[in-house]
């Protein structure tokens, strides 16, 4: 047993030290687009320093982030599916939804554009053309904000997407853009992630500017009445910060390859 005592002691020490010396912790469940684009790495550090809080970012799809919030495993959400967010608040899981920023969804396709969409601004018509052409369409299929948007578009087009051409990937936005590039197919993406991947994909935007493709991001504190353990002060402080001038300037100034990714409301 002598051999075991020392490692055991070290282990217990490490165990407790990690618990005791931890800063105040705020768990933010968010979408892959805000984390993978690099926005949060610019947006959060000033807040963390000012408030001495460590923000732990869980980057998943919007659907999963909302589920995490419902179970009380996060303190605050930053997601993009307005109808679901409002339902989340209405069901008492969230305190209130605040507008944070917006951009838009775009339909991406190969440069050859085999479906002949030709840079239109009609997303529904484009979906019809993609189906008619039989070229693969890669879906997130993960109940993310982008996937929810995509399902609404299929519904508007009156199409029940299924078949060999409809690829239900179940993966994050970046992975789907890469898969689509490999398959030379079409996909629906948020503009922010697409811009962040510009150097890594040769897909082009085939549809943009359709007002149905508006993509608003909201921020919601998880309701402390429902989940008493949540970091209420931290979440409130983060919402104050995110809707304040400093954060708005940071969001406005965040660009990749000279293109602004997210826009704030005036």
């Amino acid at each position: 047993m002598r051999y075991l005592i020392k490692p055991l002691l070290i282990c217990t020490f490490l165990f407790f030290s990690s618990v005791c010396f931890a800063q105040e912790r705020l768990v933010l469940a968010t979408t892959t687009s805000t984390e993978n684009s690099g926005l949060l790495q610019i947006l959060l550090p000033p807040f963390e320093q000012q408030n001495n809080i460590q923000v732990h970012v869980i980057a998943v799809g919007t659907g999963q982030a909302i589920k995490i919030g419902e179970r009380g495993d996060a303190d605050i959400l930053m997601v993009h599916a307005k109808a679901q967010e409002e339902a989340f608040v209405a069901a008492g899981f969230g305190v209130e939804r605040f507008d944070l920023m917006y951009n838009d969804f775009v339909i991406l396709g190969p440069t050859a554009d085999p479906a002949g969409i030709n840079e239109s601004n009609d997303a529904v018509a484009a979906f019809n053309k993609i189906v008619a052409s039989g070229v693969p369409f890669v879906s997130r299929a993960d109940m993310s904000g982008t996937h929810i948007m995509e399902k609404q578009l299929w519904q508007m087009a009156g199409i029940e997407p299924q078949g060999r051409w409809y690829v239900e990937s179940g993966r994050g936005m970046g992975e789907v853009i890469q898969m689509t590039t490999e398959m030379q197919g079409y996909t629906l993406a948020d503009r922010g992630t697409y811009l962040a991947y510009l150097g890594k994909t040769d897909l082009i935007i085939v549809v943009a500017g359709d007002e149905r493709l508006f993509n608003p991001y909201g921020v919601i504190a998880v309701n402390p009445q429902r989940h008493p353990h949540v970091n209420k002060q931290g979440a409130e402080a983060l919402i104050d910060y995110l809707t304040g001038q400093q954060a708005r300037d940071l969001i406005r100034g965040f660009s990749i390859n000279g293109q602004q990714l997210f826009f704030v409301y005036d």
């Binding site: 055991l8 282990c11 490490l14 165990f15 990690s18 732990h56 970046g174 353990h229």
Partner: protein, 229 residues
């Protein structure tokens, strides 16, 4: 091919400059794996030795169970513990989900059956005459067993190494229970998965190389200790 060579070159640059972010990921990985395997060893080795030496009813069943648990998929461990540690789950009040502690617990559950099984095999394979010799020379049963463990320590260490190998290379538990939080629960494997999804092959590759180097280093160290003793 150019693309791969280019990524490899960038990976080597990243490793040589030892990026701070990279360093933190490596430390998190090592910390979680080492703690997890230590706990698993404390459970697994005594269990393996006990089942190996004692004859009792249900022994075959336990051995079959241990063998089955060796095939435990990491995502199943992740899923079950996720349910237990979630705020809605029975251990929710501990607030363990999305912390390094959750990963450590997951890894110890994952590797304990492995270590137990390997220890068991070593004990069964050991020369059982050690026990009788020791007891005839006046050793108590416990002393005799400790002597046996001393004799088979190489095998036991090998069991721990196998456990460590599984812990540091698995991704399911770390991803589901840790949440891949930058600066907190991002391990080498979850970082590789993330960087691949972001198209940052160089960073992912750098981590892949380091993962292998760490495995090599651990094995060299153990080899050194084995030869010393």
């Amino acid at each position: 091919m150019d693309y791969l060579v280019e990524s490899l070159w960038q990976a080597l640059i990243l490793i040589s400059t030892l990026d701070r972010q990279l360093l933190q990921i490596i430390v998190t990985s090592l910390y979680a794996s080492i703690c997890g395997v230590l706990i698993a060893s404390c459970l697994g080795i005594p269990m393996g030795v006990l089942v190996g030496l004692k004859q009792f009813r249900g022994r075959r069943l336990i051995i079959t169970l241990l063998n089955t648990l060796m095939a435990l998929p990491t995502v199943v461990v992740g899923l079950i513990l996720y349910g237990l540690f979630s705020r809605q789950g029975p251990f929710g009040s501990l607030g363990l989900l999305f912390t390094p502690t959750a990963i450590i617990i997951g890894l110890s559950i994952l590797t304990a059956p492995l270590i137990a099984n390997y220890s068991l095999t070593v004990v069964v394979g050991a020369d059982q005459r050690i026990l009788t010799t020791a007891t005839t020379l006046g050793a108590s049963p416990l002393q005799a067993k400790l002597l046996l463990i001393r004799e088979i320590r190489f095998g036991v260490v090998a069991a721990v190494v196998v456990g460590f190998g599984r812990a540091i290379s698995e991704v399911g538990v770390a991803m589901m229970l840790g949440g891949n939080i930058r600066g907190s629960t991002r391990t080498m494997t979850t970082a590789i998965a993330l960087e691949t999804s972001k198209g940052e092959f160089a960073f992912g590759l750098a981590l892949g190389i380091i993962l292998l180097l760490v495995a090599l280093l651990v094995n060299l160290l153990l080899n050194y200790f084995q030869q010393k003793t």
